[in-house]
Symmetry: C2
Subunit: 645 residues, 2 copies
C-alpha cells in the first residue's frame, strides 16, 4: 500500500468525481462496446475480442484504439481504489481477462497488428503507436494493481515490457528506436515503481536517451518501408514527433503538443530519479517556453489543428486554436513531475489553471459530451462554414473516432487527490499545491499525521487545515508549505494558526511554516478572491487591446446566451465596475461576473454596407460573464474569453 | 476597328503600363520559357512544343498550364494595340504558330490531354479545365485580332469553339455538361462580339443555363470515372464549383472565388445581351452579397485558402485571409459588366477599390514579383511557422507553379483604358467610372467627340475634362455623367464648366450634365481628398474595435519598417490628428499618413510572463501609414491594415 493516503471531500470536486463514477465510467464502457447511439463507434472491445479469437472481423478505428480501453481501466482503477464497487470490478476483471487472451505467447500485445498486419510489428515506430499503447497498458496495470492488489494486468504488462526490453536497445540485433508518440517512457517509470524492477526504469531512460539521435531511426525506417506511411505524407517530420534533436538539446516546445508533454513528463520523472542535471535543465527550459510563451490563459496548449501542434512563441490565436484536452491533461502530468523535482508554485499555478479551465471545460455537465478542441473564441457559423475552423466545435460531442480525450479526463479526475499534496518521503515537508477539500495521511518520525483541508474554492478563498495527531500527544514536527496562488494579488495572504495571525517565510512561492504541530491545530489560510482583469503579454498579438476576466483560478468568458451577438461588438468600459453574484440555478450554480461595457450600435448600418467612415456609436450595456469551464452548456452560440477594452 | 477609342495618359498609371510593357511582359515570356533562375518552372511553351511534335517529354505543370500562355498573349495584344512593337509582335506570332501546330485536325487544343492522356478528353469536366483553357485561348485570340487584325489565333479559336459547340448541348449524343472552372462562358461572349457569330453567344448561354441542373453532371461523370479524381478528394463538391444550384437560383456567393466571379461576369454579359431579367436579378443579388458581405476593404475576396474560397457572410479574417489576386481581377471584370448592365456608381466604386488596393498591391515595384494571396495582416514568423498561415507570404514571389495571377495582372493593366468610360452606342451618354488621365473618342450624331481627362489621382482629387469637337463648330449634345466616388464624404462635389459652378442632377451615384458641348469646353470636377478613418460593419468580427485609414481610393497600412513591432501593440489616439505628406523618395514617391497613437509599454513585462493583471501602460507615438498597394517592398516585416482604436 501507498505510504501517503489522500482522499477528496470537497463540495466542488465531489460532484465531478461522482459524475465520473456514476456517469463517465459507465458511459465510456458503453462507448468502448459501441453501444452509444449516433456516436462514432469505438471498436475497442471488439478489436480485443477479434484478437483474442472470440470473434472474427476487421480491425476497427484508429491504430491506437487499444489505448482507449487501457485508459478507461486506469480510470476504473482509481475509482475502485477510492470507491469500491464490486460490480464495476467484475466488469474490469473481465476486460482484463480479454486483454490477457489477446496477448501472444511471447508477450506481444496489440490488436491492430494481431488482427490487421501480423508480421509487420515494429516496422513503423514513427506512426504505429505500439509502444504508446503498451504505455497505456502499463499505466492501467499499475493503477489496477495498486487499487485492487490484483496482479493479472501487471503480469501481462511485465511480460510485454520484458519483450520490449529485449527488442530495443544498443545491443547487437536490437532496434535503436523509440516510439513516435511518447507515453511508454512515463509508464515504464510507473511500472518500475510498482515492481521495483530497475530494468523498466532503464528502458525508459534508454528511450529518452535514444530519441533524436542521428541518423534518425524514423528516416531509416521510412526508407526500409519503401517510403510508405500510414497517414503522414512524405518524409517523416521529426519536429512534429519531438525527434529532431536529442531531448536534452531541444530549445523550445515544438510539434504535436500531446506527444510533447507526455515526453516532458517522463523526462521530469527521470531527471528526478537519476539526478541528471542536463535532463532537468531541459525540463525547466521546455517548461518555461511552454507555459511562458505558448500557453493560453485557460491552460490550453497547441495553437494549430494542423498536426495538433505548437507553432511558435506568442502565437496563440483564439479562434483557430487547438488546445486539445489531452494536451492540457499532459501538462498537468508534467506539472506534477516538476513539483516533485522542485516545489515551485509556478508549476502548481499552471496545473490549477489547466485543471479548472481547459480540462474541466472539456466535459459537459452531463459527463457524456466532450470537447477535443477547447477554443477561446467561438462563432458557431464559422465552425460550420469556414474550413479553417471546422475543428472548433461549438457543442461538445458524444464520442470521437479518435477518442483519446474523454478517458483521459476520467483518469485525471478520478485520481485528482494525487495532485493536491507533495509530501516528502520522510514526512518532514508537506506542500499544499491545490486547495481542494481533502485529507492526507502520512508518517513523520513514526508519528501518523492526518491533515484535513476544507476549501470552498473556486468560489471562496477561505481555506482551513486541521492537523490530527491522535496517537501523538507530543505533537510532530514538519514543514507545512502553502502555495500562494498567482491569482492572489494583494501582497502576503493572511495565515492564522489557532486563530492567531502567523508570520511566515516565502520559499519558491509557498508560505512555509516550520513547527511542532499538535493534535487539532487549526490553520486558516485566507485568499480572498477578487475578480480581476488580466492582460496578455503584448507579444501575444491575438490578445492585443483585450482583457480577460479571472476570478481566483477561474477564467471567465462571455456567451451569446447572456450577451447577444456579435460578441466582438462588445467592449469593456474604462471602469467596468465588476460585480459578482452567486446564481444557484445557473449551470448547476456558479458565480457570475457582471460589468459595464459598450456595444457598437448596429442601428446605423445598412444591411449590405461593409465599410463606412468611422463613427464611434456606442451603447452602454451591462455584460455578464460565466466561468469558462461552464461554456457551451446552453444553446449553441458565440463565446469569447478575451474582451476588447 | 472599335467605335470607341481610349488611351491612357496618366502620371500614376503610365508608370504601370510602362512597367507591364518593358518588364512584366518580357519577364513573363522568360518565365513561360522556363528561363527564370530559382523560380518554379512554367513548362508552358515546352508543353506546346511537345504537343506540336517539336520536342518529346512529359507534360509539365498544372493541368491548366496552357492558359498562362494565352493570358500572356492577351496582355501582349493589349500592349501592341496601344504601343506597337514589331519585335514583340514577332514573338507573339511565333507563339501563335506554335499553338496552331499543337491543335488537332478536328480543332481540339489542349496540351495536357494531347501529351499525357490522349483518349481521356472531356472525361473530367469537373477538374480538367479543358473549357477553361479554351476560354483563355478565345480571349487572347479576340484581343490579338483586335490589336493586329491578324486572324490566325481567331481562326484557331473558332475551329475549337465549333468543335465544342458540336460536343456540348441538349441534342442527342451531346454532353449535357459545363466546365468546373467558369471562363469559357465570358470568352464566348467576346468571340461572339469579334466574329458576329451568334452560335458562340448561344453556346455561352447554354453553359450558363445548364450549370447546376439536376442530376449533376459532375456527379454522374465522377461515377463514370470510377469515382476517381485528379486532386479533389471524394465526391465532387458542387458548391465549390458553383454548380450546386442553377445559377439564377444561387442566393449567395460560394465556393472558389475566382471561379465565382468569372461565372458572374459571363452571367452579367448574358443578362445584358439577352435581356434575361432572372439572370440580371441573380447578378444583382450575388453582387450585393459578394461586395456587401464578403469583400475585404482592399477589394479582396475569398476568406479561406482551403478551396481558395468564400466562406460566409461577414467572415473576413485578416491574417488567414486568401484574397487571391485573380479573384479581385475577376471582380473588376464583373464590375465592368455590371456597369454595362446599369451605370451605378457602386459598381465602379468596387472596381476602383479592388484595382488600387488588392490588384495593384499584388505586384512588386519591380514588376517581377507577385503576391497570390493578399493579406491585410502579416506576421512573417507566422507565415513560416504556423501551418494555418503558410499560404500568406510576407514577400512577393518570382513566379508560381500555379501562376494564374501574374499574367492576369498584366492583361488587366494593359487594357485598363477599357474600364474608364462607359459610352453608349449612340454616343449620347458618357459615364466616367474611373479618374485616370486619358482620352476617349466616340461619335454622336455623326460628330466626332474627344474627351480628355486630366487627373492626379490617387494623390489629388482635382480632375479636369476638355471636350474636343474640332470638326463640329455647333457643338454636340451628350450627357456626361461623372461618378461621385464613395470615398468622397463632403456632400455634393463642386463641378465647374468653363470656370463657373454648375448645378447637376445625381443619377445612380453619378453627377449628370446634359448639355450641348462646344469645342474646348472645360469641366472641373473637384474631389478634394481627405484622409479618413473607416470602420467595418460590426458583423465583421475580425475588424471589431478597429479602423482602417483610407485616402481617396487608397487603403493604407502600417508596416514594421516605419512603426516597429508588434504592430498589434499600436492603437489610434481618440483624436489622431492625421496629417499627410508627400514623400518623393519613399517607394517611388507616395503620400504617407501620420497620426497620433499609443503603443503598449512592453517594459514592465518579464520575458516569459504570459499574463498579468491589466495595467494600461501606454506610450504616445506618432505612427506612419503607407498605401497598402506599396506594402512589402522593403525589408520583410509585420503589416496591418486595421488598427485598434
Amino acid at each position: 500500500m501507498k505510504q501517503i493516503q489522500t482522499s477528496i471531500q470537497d463540495h466542488f470536486w465531489n460532484e465531478y468525481s461522482k459524475l465520473v463514477r456514476d456517469t463517465v465510467i459507465p458511459y465510456q464502457w458503453e462507448a468502448l462496446n459501441d453501444r452509444i447511439q449516433d456516436a462514432e463507434p469505438s471498436y475497442s472491445i471488439r478489436n480485443f475480442r477479434i484478437a483474442a479469437g472470440l470473434e472474427t472481423g476487421e480491425f476497427g478505428g484508429w491504430i491506437f484504439q487499444d489505448s482507449d480501453l487501457y485508459k478507461w481501466l486506469e480510470a476504473v482503477a482509481y475509482s475502485l481504489e477510492r470507491h469500491p464497487d464490486p460490480e464495476l470490478e467484475t466488469i474490469a476483471d473481465e476486460a482484463i481477462d480479454l486483454i490477457g487472451q489477446a496477448q501472444r505467447e511471447n508477450g506481444y500485445l496489440n490488436t491492430y497488428f494481431t488482427i490487421q498486419e501480423p508480421g509487420k510489428e515494429w516496422t513503423n515506430l514513427y506512426e504505429a503507436h505500439e509502444l504508446y499503447c503498451a504505455g497505456h497498458l502499463f499505466e492501467a496495470a499499475v493503477a489496477y494493481y495498486e487499487a485492487t492488489g490484483k496482479r493479472k494486468l501487471l503480469d501481462i504488462s511485465c511480460r510485454f515490457a520484458d519483450l520490449i526490453a529485449s527488442l530495443f536497445g544498443t545491443n547487437p540485433g536490437q532496434m535503436k528506436a523509440y516510439c513516435g508518440h511518447p507515453e511508454v517512457e512515463l509508464a515504464l517509470v510507473k511500472l518500475y515503481h510498482a515492481t521495483g524492477e530497475e530494468r523498466y526504469l532503464n528502458l525508459s531512460l534508454y528511450f529518452i536517451d535514444e530519441r533524436g539521435s542521428k541518423p534518425s531511426y524514423f528516416l531509416e525506417e521510412w526508407e526500409r518501408r519503401g517510403r510508405t506511411t500510414i497517414w503522414a505524407q512524405g518524409e517523416p517530420n521529426l519536429e512534429v514527433y519531438q525527434s529532431h534533436l536529442p531531448v536534452r538539446e531541444q530549445p523550445v516546445a515544438v510539434g504535436h503538443s500531446v506527444r510533447a508533454v507526455y515526453l516532458y513528463t517522463a523526462m521530469a520523472d527521470l531527471a528526478r530519479l537519476t539526478g541528471d542535471s542536463k535532463l532537468r535543465e531541459a525540463c525547466e527550459r521546455l517548461w518555461a517556453n511552454t507555459t511562458g510563451k505558448q500557453m493560453y490563459i485557460t491552460g490550453g496548449i497547441g495553437a494549430t489543428h494542423l498536426g495538433e501542434a505548437f507553432t511558435f512563441d506568442h502565437d496563440l490565436p483564439n479562434d483557430t486554436v487547438y488546445a486539445e484536452t489531452c494536451a492540457s491533461i499532459g501538462l498537468i502530468f508534467w506539472a506534477r513531475r516538476m513539483l516533485q523535482l522542485e516545489a515551485k508554485s509556478e508549476y502548481a499555478d499552471v496545473m490549477e489553471r489547466a485543471l479548472y479551465n481547459n480540462v474541466l471545460g472539456s466535459m459537459a455537465k452531463d459527463g457524456k459530451h466532450f470537447f477535443y478542441v477547447n477554443p477561446l473564441e467561438v462563432w458557431p457559423e464559422a465552425s460550420s462554414k469556414s474550413p479553417d475552423r471546422f475543428h472548433v466545435k461549438p457543442v461538445r460531442q458524444k464520442w470521437f473516432g479518435c477518442s483519446c480525450c474523454p478517458p483521459n479526463v476520467a483518469r485525471l479526475i478520478s485520481s485528482l487527490d494525487e495532485y493536491i499534496y507533495g509530501v516528502s518521503e520522510d514526512g518532514r515537508t508537506v506542500h499544499v499545491h491545490l486547495y481542494i477539500g481533502s485529507e492526507v495521511s502520512f508518517e513523520t518520525e513514526g508519528r501518523k499525521v492526518t491533515l484535513s483541508q476544507q476549501s470552498e474554492l473556486p468560489w471562496n478563498g477561505q481555506i482551513t487545515f486541521t492537523v490530527s495527531l491522535t496517537d501523538s500527544p507530543d505533537g510532530a514536527e514538519f514543514d507545512l508549505s502553502l502555495r500562494i496562488p498567482n491569482w492572489y494579488n494583494n501582497g502576503r495572504p493572511t495565515l492564522k494558526i489557532n486563530g492567531e495571525i502567523q508570520q511566515y517565510r516565502i520559499e519558491q512561492g509557498y508560505a512555509k511554516i516550520d513547527r511542532t504541530w499538535k493534535d487539532n491545530d487549526q490553520v486558516e489560510w485566507l485568499l480572498p478572491i477578487e475578480t480581476t482583469l488580466i492582460a496578455a503579454n503584448p507579444l501575444i498579438r491575438a490578445d492585443a487591446g483585450k482583457a480577460a476576466i479571472q476570478r481566483g483560478p477561474l477564467v471567465y468568458c462571455l456567451e451569446e446566451a447572456d450577451n447577444g451577438k456579435p460578441l466582438a461588438s462588445l467592449s469593456l468600459a474604462d471602469q467596468p465596475s465588476l460585480t459578482e453574484r452567486l446564481v444557484p440555478d445557473l449551470l448547476g450554480g456558479c458565480v457570475v461576473v457582471e460589468g459595464d461595457g459598450y456595444v457598437t450600435d448596429n442601428a446605423g448600418w445598412e444591411a449590405g454596407m461593409p465599410y463606412r467612415v468611422l463613427n464611434k456609436q456606442l451603447k452602454s450595456i451591462r455584460f455578464k460573464a460565466v466561468p469558462y469551464y461552464l461554456w457551451g452548456n446552453r444553446e449553441p452560440g458565440e463565446m469569447s474569453v478575451w474582451l476588447r477594452y
